[in-house]
């Protein structure tokens, strides 16, 4: 959809063109960052329709807040912050809609292990990671997603989540411990 002329274009140029109403420039921004957003949103709320909707909302919110983007941080960090905030809001909404106890969740999410077919095993791994992440508390889930699915270091995670580095480190350590316990039960 995005014109090939924008493929190698700098983010700043794309932002200015988008602000002038060039939809192809904004398409390129979406194409450039949609997988990053997908990893965060789907990693935090699962691979479902709600995640697709949140993903769309992220870019719509980005479009309407482009004027406020001063370029102090990277565009990817800015988009990521929007993604994390909207995803956390969605998690709150899901929680309000109805919750079950932690152990009930583990029972319902228990993964069946099948070995043999490579594709089946890959799907199984994805399912396992997704379920383990979803059983983490949201504040631990976000740091774990940044580390496990985005491959961010502590500084990048801190910038994206707007947290001090020390907090990120302690959350990572807690998240690691919680995830280990969850995985032992799966």
């Amino acid at each position: 959809m995005a014109a090939a002329r924008y493929k190698e274009t700098d983010d700043a140029v794309l932002i200015n063109a988008s602000l002038e109403g060039d939809s192809q420039a904004f398409s390129e921004i979406v194409n450039r960052y949609k997988n990053m957003v997908a990893r965060t949103v789907k990693g935090m709320i699962g691979d479902n329709m709600a995640a697709e909707d949140v993903g769309q909302e992220v870019f719509i919110k980005l479009y309407y807040s482009l004027k406020q983007f001063r370029g102090d941080s990277k565009l990817s960090t800015y988009i990521h912050r929007i993604a994390v905030n909207l995803t956390l809001n969605e998690i709150k909404k899901i929680k309000r809609a109805g919750t079950t106890s932690h152990d009930d969740n583990i029972d319902s999410l228990r993964v069946t292990h099948v070995s043999g077919d490579d594709q089946v095993e890959r799907n199984e791994t994805k399912e396992l990671v997704e379920k383990a992440l979803q059983l983490l508390e949201p504040k631990y889930r976000s740091v774990m997603v940044m580390r496990m699915l985005q491959g961010y270091d502590t500084r990048e995670t801190a910038d994206t989540l707007g947290l001090p580095v020390g907090t990120v480190l302690s959350r990572l350590s807690r998240a690691q411990e919680q995830m280990r316990n969850i995985l032992k039960k799966l």
């Binding site: 398409s27 979406v30 997908a38 993903g55 769309q56 799907n123 396992l128 985005q150 502590t154």
Partner: protein
């Protein structure tokens, strides 16, 4: 991958000297990758620019209504001024009587009519 394999990967990585991308690469090679549907970008663009088109149409309507209002208002003011000038020319004044079309002499005629003269 079994849960214990994932535990091993996690234990090896965060803050323990491995590069930050270690778990990601490991999981990617195991097929853990996320993406949105193929129509994702076009849906986003449709939602943004589709809405913008509606807003633009509303703005155009307001603008065209504004210009119609000004045209009608100017034409009305011009008509009133022309009417006042023509009344002044015909009646020689702009009194209330001349504005409503009742001249002094007409008054008497009216009284005459009412009193049967």
């Amino acid at each position: 991958m079994k849960p214990e394999d994932l535990i091993n990967i996690i234990d090896e990585a965060p803050g323990l000297g491995k590069s930050p991308g270690y778990i990601r690469e490991k999981l990617r090679s195991e097929g853990v990758e996320y993406s949105f549907g193929s129509e994702f970008t076009s849906k986003v663009i449709r939602r943004i620019y589709g809405g913008a088109i509606i807003v633009n149409r509303q703005m155009e309507l307001v603008r065209s209504l504004n210009s119609v209002f000004y045209r009608v208002a100017f034409a009305g003011v011009a008509a009133i001024i022309l009417l006042l000038i023509s009344i002044f020319v015909m009646e020689g004044s702009l009194t209330f009587n001349s504005l409503v079309g009742i001249s002094e002499s007409y008054d008497e005629t009216l009284i005459g009519l009412l009193t049967d003269h």
